[in-house]
């Protein structure tokens, strides 16, 4: 499935890496495996849709370090940590830094597969939302300053009459601005308009 997201697997233990890769591939996932975090970064695959399955303790760049670096660069790819000896403080740190999950070895295949499925879905949603957001932002950029002012007040729930008085323009002008805002943002109703704004503000 070419459009299917990829599972990026990073573990320094070759046996574990092979085993998990086999498990995931037999379950129908596209898997790319790496022996270290550095290898992963060097392959320039970040930014692709998918999720990370990451060993916490690795020589060189550890799992937690990689997580930190990715987040710093603005990547929101979901990360599932797997660890040979899970200690609580480490799990807490990972989760606080936005890990998708923290799974101890050895684990039930089903558990990992289910979590990966969820992570990929979350990534898909996130990507979709991001696309929408980018789209909305692009449309919002088309508005003139005056139209933006009118939009803000409309979103606040103000009547046209109040807006006209506040901006010191005629009621008919307000209506024209409002109509143009709806057109530019491709909103069919006031509800559409509010949702779009909420999407942008959620960031």
């Amino acid at each position: 499935m070419p459009d299917r997201a990829t599972v990026f697997l990073i573990d320094d233990d070759q046996a574990v890496r092979d085993a998990i890769r086999l498990l995931l591939e037999t379950s129908g996932f596209t898997v790319q495996a790496f022996a270290s975090a550095i290898d992963f970064l060097n392959m320039a695959v970040i930014g692709q849709p998918g999720c990370l399955v990451l060993d916490v303790r690795m020589p060189g760049l550890s799992g937690l370090d990689l997580q930190k670096r990715l987040r710093a660069q603005g990547y929101r790819i979901p990360i599932i940590f797997i660890t040979g000896h899970g200690d609580v403080p480490m799990a807490i740190r990972a989760m606080k830094a936005g890990a998708f999950d923290f799974i101890e070895k050895p684990f039930q295949g089903q558990t990992l597969l289910a979590r990966i499925e969820e992570a990929l879905a979350a990534d898909g949603q996130e990507r979709c939302r991001q696309t929408q957001r980018a789209d909305a932002a692009a449309r919002l950029a088309l508005l003139s300053p005056r139209e933006r002012e009118v939009l803000e007040r409309v979103a606040d729930g103000q009547y046209n009459k109040v807006i006209a008085a506040e901006l010191n323009i005629s009621l008919s002008t307000v209506e024209i601005h409002r109509k143009r805002v709806m057109e530019k943002l491709q909103a069919e109703s006031l509800t559409d308009l509010i949702r779009l704004l909420a999407l942008l503000q959620a960031d």
Binding site: D12, D13, A15, V16, D18, A19, I20, L22, L23, E25, T26, S27, R57, M58, P59, G60, S62, I82, G84, H85, P89, E104, K105, P106, F107, Q108, G109, Q110
Partner: protein
């Protein structure tokens, strides 16, 4: 006094005076002086007579003939009366002048006579000199002063009689007198024939009847004795004064001494009072009980107030009933202390630790010491002592002992936990692989069209992972079983190799390269291998973690061994991490001190306790090129 020889030749006109010697020129003095304008009366009279006659018979007739030519000259006979008159006049003049001369001569002679008498009768040396400085008259005293017969002094000047120094003084004095024309006094010190003479000399000009200075008179008073007396008085005076000063000074110092002694005595009294006061304060305020036991009285004589606080009994009760002391002692210690007490009365010495039970039931530990106090005969008549409450110290000792036991237990336990954790971690890897492989196989098998033969490779992997797990367990067992005995001969190099192998996974994961620098041969150490393994592992972990704190730079761990001296063996764990601040060096080994965010801080303090309990030391240093080094020493195993 020698009889002057030329007394007979004394000038005429002078009475013979004993002790006076006169020069012949003495009587001529007046005449010599008069020669210049002096004319003998006979010559004068003769000149006048001849002049008168010449006038009468020669000059007068000539004048008349020249003035009055033609007049007749009186006859010679007629002028005889005039000539007789002239002769008579001249004779009269001679007589008068002669009389005057004789009178003057007499006056001069009288003056000379007076002076001569004065010189002769003066008990002091006296003299008369002419203007040339020659002695014309001297007396016997003068001769004695000059040190030669008087006759030899006459007509001599000073230079012939006295030393050159004296001559200069005399001439100067004479000149002064002649120049001033008045008398002058001088005190002159002379050395004559080896004796020092002090003379008070008075000199005055000698004048003739007309007041002209014709010589110098002098008289010298010998004041040597007087001077000596004066000097003696002066020196006696000085001597006296200095003795008075000495005596005054001596008195003063005696006085000061006395004052000092008095002050010292006062001070001593104050000090004694103070020391008594201090003793009282000390005895009453120290936390120890100070006691004095009377050997003959067989009871305590003094007990300091701390007793009431420690024992919880009133002092009066103890003084009245000495047995209270024994009764308060814990039954387990009582017999021993009682025996020691009996010995104490003989030897005077006492040193016991015992427990007491207070009225409220609590137990206190007491350290009681006594020392003998002897009388002059050397007999022990008292015993003084201190009883100290050492409960706190005893508890601390107990606690320390318990802590040491606990430490040993913890170190064993933590090694077990450590091994378990490591085992779990290492086993998790093959287990995870096995589970994943198996589940992959299951998934494939569940698919209808799967050929089971494709699973062969995967199943082989599963077998490999199972063997890997077995290998891990075997390694761990080796580590534990290799050196089972505590405090045995320990090959540190072998121990380091096994610990390093054990920590290899962690080193790999942290990307730390390892270097071993082991001395070979290395004497065996005497230590408990399990505990040393634990310390070494803890040091290696610390090093790994500290190097993990810094992202860049080399990550290198060096473990080395060395023989420091014949008695001990050193192990050093060196890292290239950030090191530590020098002021934190001591803190490093404090329990619960840590520089690591997740650390408990027990590692180094426990490590140091372990090493010290094995008779070694653990310390930290900074590397010159960065990073820290931890060293521990262990005693070498004594050769059999």
């Amino acid at each position: 006094m020698t009889e002057p020889k030329d007394r007979a030749s004394a000038p005429s006109g002078f009475a013979v005076i004993p002790q006076l010697w006169l020069s012949h020129s003495f009587s001529r003095m007046r005449l010599e002086r008069g020669k210049a304008g002096y004319c003998h009366p006979a010559v004068l009279s003769l000149v006048l007579a001849l002049g008168g006659l010449l006038w009468l018979w020669a000059i007068n007739p000539l004048l008349i003939t020249w003035l009055y030519p033609g007049s007749t000259l009186p006859s010679l006979a007629s002028s005889v009366p005039s000539a007789l008159a002239i002769l008579a006049g001249a004779g009269l003049l001679y007589w008068v002048l002669k009389a005057c001369n004789v009178a003057m001569h007499r006056t001069q002679c009288a003056q000379h006579q007076q002076l001569a008498e004065f010189i002769a009768y003066s008990p002091d040396p006296a003299f008369l000199k002419d203007q040339q400085g020659r002695y014309l008259a001297v007396n016997a005293a003068f001769a004695q002063l000059a040190g030669r017969p008087a006759i030899e002094c006459l007509n001599q000047d000073d230079s012939a009689l006295f030393s050159p120094e004296a001559v200069a003084l005399f001439i100067d004095h004479d000149q002064r007198v002649i120049a001033d024309g008045t008398a002058s006094n001088r005190e002159i010190t002379l050395a004559i024939h080896g004796d020092t003479h002090v003379l008070l000399t008075t000199r005055w000009p000698y004048r003739d009847t007309e007041g002209c200075s014709i010589g110098v008179c002098g008289i010298a008073q010998e004041i040597t004795a007087q001077k000596q007396a004066e000097n003696q008085v002066y020196s006696a005076n000085t001597n006296m004064e200095s003795r008075i000063r000495e005596r005054t000074a001596a008195l003063q110092s005696i006085n000061e001494d006395l004052e000092r002694q008095i002050a010292a005595r006062i001070q001593a009294e104050v000090a004694l009072r103070d020391s008594q006061e201090r003793f009282r304060q000390l005895a009453e305020h120290i936390r120890e009980v100070f006691w004095v036991y009377g050997v003959e009285e067989e009871r305590p004589l003094y007990i300091s107030p701390a007793y009431e606080e420690i024992w919880g009994h009133p002092i009066d009760g103890l003084l009245e009933r000495p047995m209270t002391w024994i009764e308060a002692i814990h039954p387990d210690d009582r017999a021993r202390v009682q025996a020691a007490h009996i010995t104490k009365c003989g030897s005077g010495y006492f040193d016991e630790e015992y427990r007491i039970i207070r009225p409220d039931g609590t137990i206190r530990w007491i350290w009681d010491r006594g020392f003998p106090v002897c009388d002059e005969a050397g007999r022990i008549y008292r015993i003084a002592g201190l009883a100290e409450d050492i409960t706190r110290r005893k508890l601390a000792e107990d606690q320390l002992r318990r802590q040491q036991v606990e430490l040993t237990r913890i170190s064993r336990l933590s090694l077990a936990v450590e091994l378990a954790a490591n085992l779990a971690h290492q086993l998790n890897q093959p287990l995870a692989a096995i589970v994943a492989y198996t589940q992959a196989c299951l998934t494939l098998l569940r698919q209808a069209d799967t050929d089971p033969r494709v699973l062969t490779g995967t199943l082989d992997e599963i077998v490999n992972q199972g063997l890997r797990a077995g290998e891990i367990i075997r390694h761990l067992r080796e580590l534990v079983q290799k050196h089972p005995a505590a405090q045995a001969a320990l090959d540190l190099n072998a121990l380091i190799r096994s610990v390093v192998r054990y920590a290899q996974t962690e080193l790999n994961q942290a990307g730390v390269s390892l270097k071993l620098s082991l001395a070979d041969p290395l004497p065996a150490a005497l230590a408990d291998d399990i505990q040393i393994q634990l310390v070494l592992l803890s040091l290696i972990r610390n090093a790994i973690e500290s190097m993990g704190e810094q992202a860049d730079g080399p990550h290198e761990l060096t473990v080395s061994t060395a023989m420091a001296d014949p008695g001990s063996v050193w192990v050093t764990v060196r890292d290239t991490g950030p090191g530590f601040r020098l002021d934190m060096e001591d803190d490093l080994f404090r329990p619960f001190f840590t520089t690591k965010p997740g650390g408990m801080g027990l590692g180094l303090s426990v490590g140091r306790s372990i090493i010290e309990s094995q008779g070694g030391q653990l310390w930290a240093t900074l590397n010159l090129d960065g990073g820290a080094a931890f060293h521990f020493s262990l005693p070498a195993y004594p050769d059999a």
